[in-house]
């Protein structure tokens, strides 16, 4: 019998502060304008992305190609609405771009594109690519004696892909302690529960046995995330995996842990009302 992590329980019950609600309003505003979007996958990511961009990444929105900037790759590219909200809020591009999401001339597509969106380090959308790219970036930092760090955000369903585990072995081989994999462990993928589709447990042991230093955290607890992410590498000489226990759709009762909210088309009036109740007027 697999124990439910206490972090998973607190992820379900913890409340969200005003900044987290504000970021959700930005995400849901994009969905409302576009009449589509991956809602659940973005809402489970928000605090992870927020803490990275607010508190952890050494980046300058005015100089997005600074060679010494920390690199972050959203390997689960379909969660891009969370990333777009943060990048816009941090000034990588105007907030007004968010309304154009998926529009014919928008820079913001349904998956993030390198070269189109300032601050996006790699084009993703096909799952299972980001960690390998991250290994390359981290290895390059080592070879070039640069101090930047590389953070890769992965979905839990995404790590069904064998390429992720190839990359994990590669990261461990090179002892890339400048590389951090954050796993958005919301226990749901597209069809349904990860436990049903392809069980991942014991997940922390898997990463550990692949040579990573592993941390587990409630992925909606901003201060806990800060503490963990400010202490990377967790172990010198090893890449770090941070298993973030999250709730898909976090913050919207109707969407929470509900596979039907993986991707949403047009939001109905009653859904919009419920959203206002949950996250505030937008």
């Amino acid at each position: 019998m697999i124990q439910i992590s206490p972090h998973a329980e607190s992820a379900l019950t913890c409340t969200l502060d005003e900044r987290s609600l504000y970021l959700r309003r930005l995400v849901l505003g994009s969905v409302r304008s576009a009449g589509r979007g991956h809602v659940g996958p973005a809402l489970s990511l928000i605090e992870m992305v927020r803490v990275l961009y607010d508190d952890v990444l050494r980046i300058d929105p005015k100089n997005p190609r600074d060679p010494n900037r920390d690199r972050a790759i959203l390997s689960k590219g379909h969660g891009c609405l969370a990333l777009y909200a943060l990048l816009a809020d941090r000034g990588f591009f105007p907030l007004s771009e968010l309304d154009g999401f998926c529009g014919p001339d928008s820079i913001l597509g349904g998956h993030p594109e390198y070269g189109m969106v300032p601050g996006v380090e790699a084009s993703t959308g096909a799952l299972g690519h980001g960690l390998s790219i991250g290994v390359g970036l981290a290895l390059a930092a080592r070879m070039r004696e640069r101090s930047y760090r590389t953070f890769v955000l992965l979905g839990d369903g995404e790590i069904n892909e064998g390429s992720v585990w190839e990359a994990a072995m590669g990261a461990a081989k090179h002892g890339l302690d400048n590389l951090v994999a954050l796993i958005d462990y919301n226990k749901l993928q597209s069809y349904g529960p990860t436990d049903y589709v392809l069980p991942l447990e014991p997940l922390a042991d898997k990463w550990r046995s692949f040579g990573f230093a592993v941390q587990e955290v409630n992925g909606h607890d901003v201060s806990a995330l800060r503490t963990v992410l400010k202490q990377v590498p967790a172990v010198a000489g090893k890449p770090t995996a941070v298993i973030c226990h999250t709730v898909k759709g976090k913050g919207l009762p109707a969407a929470e842990s509900n596979a039907d909210w993986h991707h949403k088309n047009k939001l109905t009036d009653s859904e919009l009302d419920a959203i206002r109740v949950a996250v505030g007027d937008f």
Binding site: I133, V135, G136, E166, G170
Partner: protein, 319 residues
């Protein structure tokens, strides 16, 4: 050809600190000298092609020029999405050195025979596809890869292929080499089909048939100008390739002629492998022979096609 290409990676690495060698699990001692001289730039990353392509993309984003090397089928089929997305979509300078293009691994069967690699690599935006014909050309080609902007797929032959390329022809990516001036027929070749075309041309000459040969070492971007120039006055354009009929050199030439000429197309003969997996072993040479790609069979096919075209198609674009 393979040893030469490998040694060139070492040579380029000595000259340029951006150059990396990345192998999956190559033969023992591959680039041993380079591994001694530049241990940090000689990377052996395991039988994990999908990962290796992604990792090379990351390294290329940071200014390195990775030369990734393994068997052609694994460098194309196994990690096609990584090649498409990580390399081509990002347009990164990663070089894929594919061992055993075509039927080089004939004895090892269909898993190791790269018969559609040109088609699937050529289909990708931003990808360049090069098939050198011999070791000397491979060396000149490798020189040119250093500063080429996007990704390159390099289809290597077996090694020990007769050296027919000439230093005075030089090598420019995307510039075809006219090996023999156009005659009744123009053979367009890539890779080691050039050697066969040269022999076939001699056989045809004995029959009084003059053959031109255009060596299209770069299949993408195809040298349209050289092709249009070379077909002038010929009665037949014959393409020769160690590849299935769809999507390779023959297709590229046909597409180009259709796009550029529209009407008044030359008579064409596409000589290739059949559209099926090979279930015979033996050698590259024996399989090519079995499928009508020996010099003799090429000459005979051209003779027949010329005879047929004499009765049907008009002479083209006579100057």
């Amino acid at each position: 050809m393979r040893n030469t290409a490998m040694n060139m990676v070492h040579k380029l690495a000595a000259r340029d600190e951006r150059v990396l060698y990345i192998g999956s699990d190559p033969g023992a001692g591959t680039l041993r000298a380079m591994s001694k001289e530049f241990p940090k730039r000689h990377l052996i990353e395991g039988i994990s092609e999908a990962h290796i392509i992604g990792m090379s993309a990351g390294l290329a984003m940071e200014g390195f020029v990775p030369y990734v090397n393994t068997i052609a089928t694994f460098l194309t089929r196994r990690c096609y999405e990584q090649v498409a997305v990580d390399l081509c979509l990002h347009n990164l300078p990663v070089r894929l050195i594919a061992n055993g293009g075509g039927l080089v691994y004939a004895p090892l069967g269909p898993t190791h025979q790269a018969i559609e690699d040109i088609a699937i690599m050529r289909a990708l935006p931003n990808m360049t596809v090069i098939c050198p014909c011999d070791a000397d050309e491979a060396a000149r080609m490798m020189e040119r890869t250093l500063d080429w902007k996007g990704p390159i797929y390099i289809r290597l032959g077996k090694g020990g292929d007769a050296v027919v390329s000439k230093a005075e022809h030089g090598f420019e990516i995307g510039k075809a080499i006219l090996m023999r001036s156009p005659g009744d027929v123009l053979m367009v070749t890539t890779g080691i089909m050039l050697q066969r075309a040269l022999t076939a041309a001699d056989l045809l000459a004995a029959q009084g048939i003059r053959s031109g040969i255009l060596h299209m070492h770069t299949v993408k971007p195809l040298d349209t100008e050289a092709l249009l120039q070379a077909i002038r006055g010929t009665r037949l354009v014959a393409t020769l390739e160690e590849h299935v009929p769809s999507g390779g050199l023959g297709s590229a030439v046909a597409e180009t002629l259709i796009d550029k000429l529209g009407s008044g197309l030359p008579a064409m003969l596409r000589l290739s492998l059949p559209d099926r997996f090979m279930h015979n072993y033996g050698s590259q040479d024996s399989l090519l022979k079995k499928h009508g790609l020996s010099a003799n069979a090429i000459a005979t096919s051209i003779e027949h096609a010329l005879a047929a075209s004499r009765t049907s198609a008009p002479q083209l674009h006579s100057t």
